[in-house]
Point group: C2
Amino acid sequence: MKKVAILGSTGSIGVTSCDVIRKHRDDFCITLLSTNVNYKLLAEQANEFRPDCLYIGRKEFAEDLKGLLKYGPKIFSGPEGLVESVKNSDAKLLLNALIGAVGLLPTLEAIKLSMDVALANKETLVVGGELVTSMAKKKNVKITPVDSEHNAIFQCLKGNLERPLSRIILTASGGPLLGLPLDQFNDVSPKQALNHPTWGMGKKISIDSATMMNKGLEIIEARWLFDLPAEMIDVVIHPQSIVHGMAEFSDGSIISVLGPTSMSIPIIYSLYYPEHAPSAPVAMLDLAKGLNLEFFAPDEKRFPLLKTAKMAAKELGTVPTVLNASNEVAVQAFLDGKIKFTDIRLVVEGAISSHRSVKADDIKVLLEVDAWARKYAEEFISTRGR
Amino acid sequence: MKKVAILGSTGSIGVTSCDVIRKHRDDFCITLLSTNVNYKLLAEQANEFRPDCLYIGRKEFAEDLKGLLKYGPKIFSGPEGLVESVKNSDAKLLLNALIGAVGLLPTLEAIKLSMDVALANKETLVVGGELVTSMAKKKNVKITPVDSEHNAIFQCLKGNLERPLSRIILTASGGPLLGLPLDQFNDVSPKQALNHPTWGMGKKISIDSATMMNKGLEIIEARWLFDLPAEMIDVVIHPQSIVHGMAEFSDGSIISVLGPTSMSIPIIYSLYYPEHAPSAPVAMLDLAKGLNLEFFAPDEKRFPLLKTAKMAAKELGTVPTVLNASNEVAVQAFLDGKIKFTDIRLVVEGAISSHRSVKADDIKVLLEVDAWARKYAEEFISTRGR
């Protein structure tokens, strides 16, 4: 039985992970569950899976949480409690499903403890890719990507590590604004941008999908995960989200992974890795029913942030940290009605052009740059707001 | 430098193989080239690649061949000379691109000699699958499929041998008659049936593609190649012939191989296996240009031979031998204008229902059954012709 710690268990990936584990109780045991504010759902999950440790981000909800529990686990809270909860979890695998750069420190802690990591928190690699991958190598820790695109490419490369690779290809649904005329991007509302055509996801990632920044962050994530230069990472629009990722080899063959549009597929793969799941968590793809799969190039005029992120993936240093932090702030401001959809790009580009990149191999530096970029973005937004 | 013997070098696969080797002369050296009747092309190929051995099927062309040669190789001919030529070739790899059941004996000879086999002759496995695969296992000989579908599935399974497999999926273009109304199948002419939409191939395989018997033979081939029961081998129509094969795993992911519609891709893979080709023999697939891939179930009313072949793949014994031999005779009779397109099916089904299947582990039995089925088919056709 594999001991699993789940950070972000009340989010979309976390809930799906619990669903998957519920069906495979003989193979997994949860030792840590966590949330930022949703203590009610956390209490429900805890009462079902009985982990020894719980984490609640906001201290003010700790007592409410305790009131709902039917047993007595260790409870951690506050910013400093997050890493502590991982330390105490005694898990073999950390499933990191946190949202945002806050996911970096617990990933580093897990690696320090020689815990394998199933990574759904892409910011861990966007911000700390250099640090995380070099440390994982030293500690011989396996990082398995939960992101469907990276999980697919991870599968494509398995058994082909000696084969000359020409490039990897991340597929992108194109999001809810794929066909919107260019002159209407200014007036996109949060509701419109949240309306994702194929994937049901959290708010932050849905907006990132509408700007295609999500795919940009994934380029940076892939750069570290697969140790490839940005020039070998391409994006292709595939509106049906059935082909999740591809690897093109120098001999002319492309290996790809197809599957139902369900996060439970990469989740179950990552939970069992390096072993294999005995059965599928959802109905299999039915090709005989009729499928039509389209592929075409993304339009960088509609999605300028994709180009900006590609540039960040080439430059590296602390540029991706600034890209990510300023984007987090800008997306929240857009959701709060403070800025327009097309302003998200201006915030991010403003932050990057005001930043002087340095080496990204020191966690202190990364956290400082992250904080600087957030502050810059907030000021930029409040100035624009006036 | 790998020594390669090529049987059937003047056919479509053989010529493409020579093209591929021409571009990689530092990695390969051809030690045997062969043809049945096309001595002019064989002489050209021989003068270029200078193999020590040549094989010409028809003895009467041996002198003409010698007259065109600029050097003095050993020349083999006649039915008994085929196996002899392989014996003398001193090759590390036999690329068997013969057409029909005649390919079985040289494959068995290569395995006896511990020569690896790149197999483009599917009849080797359709007729002698049990014998060939058990002998290859004993001799630790690698059989790499050249057929694009099987080569793709071979790639899909690599690195996943421990992973529970749910099924493999052979893609089929559907051939030139995919959309033809059912009541017009009676009147299909050889010209119409030879007009394949995506692959340029020889006549026999083009007709097999029009009846979808080709896919049926491929099911039997796959059954032996991947040691899977027929129930785990599915066929899906994919008119664009871009996705060449798929493997669906029990955990819900499907791994597939995509590539340009060119036989040089599986050929170069098989030539270099277990190493890898340094570059692609044709232009890479350009997804960004726009691609539309369709998949749907085959219509067994239009293609009844697909169902018959599936049945043969389940029954095994000598049923596939009869299926193959009677089909070879029927296709030739159709090309010669002796029978109608829809009669091909009647010949094959007649032969199978008149045959009592026995164990298929003895080459003598296989050759006897093969001969019986050909005779049966010829008589059936001549009776019908009256």
